[in-house]
Symmetry: C2
């Protein structure tokens, strides 16, 4: 099988830690936890982004923002929201990364974009976390170049929260689209990163980790999955997670597991399939309640019940894919996010900033990392058996 370029074009030279940059992290006049926000990349422009910031600011007195993009427009939008007064610094960026831009283009010529500028605020220490609604591939590519991969990490991953039956109401799944393939060693790193995320983001001491496959029997599936199964099982005791073995698509929202590990191709398809299914059912439900006069009355009576359900399955409320494995945390919000969606992504960014997530994750991966060469030897041995 030919080893193709990732859709996100991972540059090999991007390993190591970023050098300190010229911009100082002081003198911004902002108090609290500072989040860097790319205001321009989403499908709906900066208005819903600024509305989302206002929503978050109203709920959380500890939060402040550096907002990157068209300064004239953003200043105008910010001025309309009293709650944002004194809590926003606006940085002008002339260009915007388009949804159709290729990551490789953006890496070469994206220096003047709001996305680049937003990531650089994390790189130079002004902000703890970066949030963008922009082009996922470009955001990952720029994050890799500007923040670089954390020591011991080969492929960074995107982790999402998934509504589930377990106590906290969410599972973590990764990779949901950073890269289209992952070998056994990459899947082990996803397990470590996902467990660390569950520990810091969901407050679980000993997260249960499962590896996504087409069956739970150990003899099923592709060779790299069998090799990953053994690696993740062997690493469990030293890394403080419980390995539950293979899980199936139906187990993703179950209370059998807290962290679901898979490659970015499969994870992306599973995530979008679930979102599509939820949207379809929501449509069916709306139509069912519009059908007859009686059902319209029922819908009125059931208003709060339906609203409660709507909240639980609303993808805006679990908005925010977290990029793991970089020297800095980046949260990708949905391109079509409205104020509620942006606010959910900001909340997630804030929580990760508060727990010092990036530093803890780096320490965790570095301490359990198997040297790449010996891991490759292991997985080759397994697949030739």
């Amino acid at each position: 099988m030919a080893d193709t370029a990732s859709p996100i074009a991972m540059p090999d030279q991007a390993t190591g830690s970023p050098e300190a940059s010229e911009t100082p992290s002081e003198g911004l006049g902002l108090d609290g936890v500072v989040i860097s926000v790319d205001a321009m990349g989403g499908d709906r422009g900066p208005a819903p982004v600024v509305a989302g910031l206002a929503k978050s600011a109203a709920k959380n007195p500890e939060i402040a923002f550096i907002v990157h993009g068209d300064k004239v427009e953003i200043d105008r939008l910010v001025a309309r929201r009293k709650i944002l007064k004194g809590r926003v610094v606006v940085r002008n960026a002339e260009a915007v990364v388009q949804m159709s831009d290729k990551p490789s283009q953006v890496m070469r010529s994206g220096k003047n974009t709001s996305m680049w500028s937003a990531i650089d605020s994390v790189r130079n220490g002004e902000a703890s976390v970066c949030v963008s609604c922009g082009n996922t591939g470009a955001l990952m590519a720029l994050s890799m170049v500007r923040l670089r991969k954390a020591p011991g990490v080969n492929r960074p991953a995107i982790a999402c929260l998934w509504p589930s039956r377990n106590q906290g109401g969410f599972n973590v799944m990764l990779d949901v689209g950073a890269d289209i393939r992952a070998d056994a060693q990459d899947l082990l790193q996803y397990a470590l990163m996902g467990a660390s995320y569950a520990r810091n983001g969901l407050g679980l001491k000993n997260p249960r980790v499962g590896l996504l496959n087409v069956g739970t029997e150990e003899h099923k599936g592709r060779a790299e999955l069998k090799a990953a199964h053994d690696l993740i099982a062997d690493t469990a005791p030293q890394a403080n997670y419980d390995f539950v073995g293979f899980v199936e698509g139906g187990d993703i929202p179950s209370d059998r597991v807290d962290v679901i590990v898979t490659d970015g191709y499969t994870g992306n398809i599973a995530l979008k399939t679930a979102e599509g299914t939820a949207a379809l059912i929501r449509e069916f439900l709306t139509n069912a309640f519009k059908k007859t006069p009686l059902s319209r009355i029922a819908a009125l009576l059931a208003y709060t019940s339906l609203r409660r359900l709507g909240k639980r399955i609303d993808p805006r409320r679990v908005n925010g894919g977290v990029f793991l494995g970089l020297n800095g945390t980046v949260v990708k919000s949905h391109g079509s996010a409205d104020a509620t969606g942006v606010s959910a992504a900001i909340k997630l960014a804030f929580e990760l900033a508060k727990t010092g997530f990036t530093e803890r994750l780096a320490a965790r991966v570095a301490s359990t990392a198997v040297p790449r060469e010996s891991a490759d030897a292991t997985s080759e041995k397994k697949s030739s058996e």
Copy 2:
């Protein structure tokens, strides 16, 4: 990457058409379309299977059955249902394929099982289609050995119906789990088989075919997917389908596409993820309506609306994965199917039998099949570009 054994163990020698067998197709005393049914393989034993047959028989006067399994018990169950009188022939089979049995075991020593016997009724022409609730891997392995692959087919596939927004209410997706991998040429065959299924099973003259990927842009995804994209596009004019290009997980239930083509690993995970999501939402919905006295009253008023919704998202009503690419049609029903689920699978089997689906499909694939060697050369050329 090591080429591992499929979980379903595809025997290479199983290409070609089955020889005529000793059992004659006459003298059964059955009228109409005869369906061969494995009564034993499901999680709940033969009772829900026979109940499902009765349900189908009551709705459809043209249908009759050969039922395979424990004759004493099946006779007893059949005797209780008047509607089945004179419409069922029972064949005794001493053994039952267990859900935990490995396909390779069953292929070697499964001669006395109800599953083997049920497939052989299609092989020897007594019945048009075989239905089983048993172990999917074993069912595919036995079907391959006993029915053999249709001319021009390299990997058979399992196709499922997927609730969708398009006119007929369903899309077709394949492969959902016959094999864990597929190359570009296999994916082309899936497109041909899926289009044929949509034509015969859903009555669509020019089905729209899409290839599942992580994005709709042509530069995205794995090398084999790009090669498959070009092969499927090139074959569209001669094979009477419209190729809509890459589709994403969220497009599966959309009205953009009628047939979704993917490898069995990805398709299986997407299918189970969607089922899991629907089940989760159904639970949330039930709980939402139990929360308060008012919502309980609302649930009563909304009873018919909720029932209508329940019907649309009830996986039992789309029960039945169809094995494509064999000399004979096999329908796999859910292992946990109840009478409603079994009856849905029987209905699907009946419709495929009526249209002479197997013969049409074979003719279609054979007439558009690219010789294997030249196809391999094409895909190698593409992936090295």
